[in-house]
């Protein structure tokens, strides 16, 4: 990841987690032109190709889609966080929806495509957040907030407790997935990708009330697991 300053500026309105606005921040030149000229035309077709390949039954395509989505989410996160003051944090929902628009677009959104995309996004967000938490875990030296810079990915760190919880949840989630794979997927989609119950229910092909029941079950299971460690 190179200079994030060149990238499109993405900000979200508070209280509208599933909405993404392109906004010009004071002092920063408008970068709409850069957006259309940047190389994501290639990435967009890559993601679309992978989605088509998944549909056609190519088992490697899901992993390749994950890589594409992972890179895009990291890039978006870096571009977004490069503009923020210390102490502010990632908003997974906005990033995921923005990545969808940039990689696939809403021109021809098949339902299946969204499903695969959200699954890839949830796993990608999980990896990004866990990487971040692990790195900070080893580098932390006091203070509630600090900025950490790695590989051009400059992030405002949330409070240490949040990182410890994140790592504990991630570990418990691996165990959970062995016994309850569907519910573990639901947790990834809700917690890491920030999807709503309604979105989750569509991705998993379950009713909203089942999604809510699974969510209750999953939270109890994971809390019980973490506390009994």
């Amino acid at each position: 990841m190179k200079q994030v300053e060149q990238l499109c500026d993405v900000m979200t309105e508070p209280g509208e987690p599933s909405f993404v606005n392109f906004e010009n921040i004071s002092g920063v030149p408008k970068v709409d032109d850069l957006c259309s000229a940047s190389p994501e035309a290639v990435t967009m077709s890559d993601a679309t190709v992978m989605l088509a390949a998944i549909k056609a039954g190519d088992s490697k395509a899901a992993e390749e889609l994950l890589v594409i989505v992972y890179d895009e989410l990291r890039r978006l996160a870096a571009s977004k966080l490069a503009r923020e003051a210390p102490g502010q944090t990632l908003q997974a929902t906005a990033l995921v929806h923005e990545a969808w628009l940039r990689l696939v677009g809403d021109k021809n959104p098949s339902f299946n495509d969204r499903e695969h995309f959200f699954r890839a996004s949830a796993e990608a967000m999980r990896r990004i957040l866990i990487d971040r938490a692990r790195r900070k875990h080893t580098r932390r030296h006091g203070g509630e907030y600090q900025r950490v810079d790695f590989a051009g990915f400059d992030l405002a760190a949330p409070a240490p407790m949040a990182d410890d919880q994140l790592l504990a949840v991630d570990e418990a989630l691996d165990k959970f997935a062995v016994e309850h794979p569907v519910q573990a997927e639901l947790v990834k989609l809700r917690y890491f990708a920030g999807l709503t119950n309604e979105e989750v229910s569509k991705v998993l092909g379950i009713s909203i009330s089942t999604a809510k029941n699974y969510w209750n079950f999953s939270r109890a299971w994971l809390l019980n697991e973490i506390e009994s460690e």
Binding site: E84, T89, A92, T93, Y191, R219, L222
Partner: protein, 65 residues
């Protein structure tokens, strides 16, 4: 999800709808003598009582103020 896992989810979900004073009888009946299953569901119900807003906030913290 195997059968036991499915039962665990179903019994937990049902149990939450049962009044607390009737839960023991409900679990006796639903678990049908499977002590292991009953033990698991009881632990989950206890965890549920103190779950609060666990996992409700995204891991990145609150949205941009």
């Amino acid at each position: 999800m195997n059968d036991e896992a499915r039962r665990e989810v179903a019994i937990f979900t049902q149990a939450l709808k049962v009044a607390i004073e009737e839960r023991a009888a409900f679990l006796d009946n639903a678990c049908g003598g499977d002590e292991n299953l009953r033990h698991k569901v009881e632990a989950l119900l206890k965890a549920h009582d103190r779950v609060g807003d666990f996992l409700e906030d995204p891991p990145g913290g609150p949205s941009i103020p």
